[in-house]
Symmetry: C2
């Protein structure tokens, strides 16, 4: 089937024939209140996927790192992100770059949803969650320590 | 220099240290009222660029085609796009897929700016503009004919 050339938004941040998916297929308790929608994928032959994630108020993504990079653009709401050892306050249309092998976590801390586009390679490694030693290093910074949700 | 991990929006659809560029460096009269900002590029090692284009009211992009594909997401305003032989009415957050070798043109026809993200391969071929024969074929459809700006 030929991919459609126009995909309308049907409700705010919902698109025609694009399913709202679980954030991660394997479940887990290391994230909270987050959905995933794949906007562009292999049909588009760019070697990347563009996904839309939405974190409900007080929710968060998994604290993790991996070899692949993320390019992120906030398109709804506000929140915060840890990237490496820095915590950024995020507003709509802000950009976030997660370099390879960098601990990161997104949180909807502003009492409103945090919705963002995330660009990744289609071929990518599996995320790694921090072990006790990595957590101890991250927690050495009191601000980071109080930000983390694991 | 290490790329920054957080790039704030400073004014609506303007970003810290991201210049507002001409739509095309070679100038031309085949487009009108359109700017370009490169949000993510080679630093991000994904083989793609994510650009933000904004078309002023009554402006338009070049009518063109090329071997590379575009993945587009409208993030500001409304307008219309020709993709192949179809004219789509575009609203904020709509997605547009421009397949390879497909004539396309974006226009800000709604009395407001049309701003969109456009994802492309970093390595890509040069766009081709229609010659007289291709224009005649496009113009055989009266709706398309009245839409085109060349």
């Amino acid at each position: 089937m030929t991919p459609k050339t126009h995909i309308s938004q049907t409700l705010p941040f919902r698109w025609q024939d694009i399913p709202v998916l679980a954030y991660k297929e394997d479940g887990g308790t290391h994230f909270k209140g987050i959905t995933r929608q794949v906007l562009f994928d292999e049909d588009d032959k760019l070697g990347v996927q563009l996904r839309y994630f939405e974190i409900a108020p007080e929710g968060h993504s998994t604290l993790e790192r991996h070899d692949h990079a993320h390019c992120v653009m906030v398109v709804k709401g506000r929140g915060q992100a840890l990237v490496g050892s820095e915590i950024h306050a995020l507003g709509t249309n802000d950009l976030v770059r997660v370099p390879p092998n960098t601990w990161h976590q997104f949180r909807a801390t502003a009492g409103e949803p945090l919705g963002f586009l995330c660009l990744v390679s289609r071929e990518r490694d599996k995320p790694e969650r921090p072990g006790a030693a990595a957590l101890a290093i991250l927690r050495a910074d009191p601000q980071v320590s109080s930000f983390l949700r694991v």
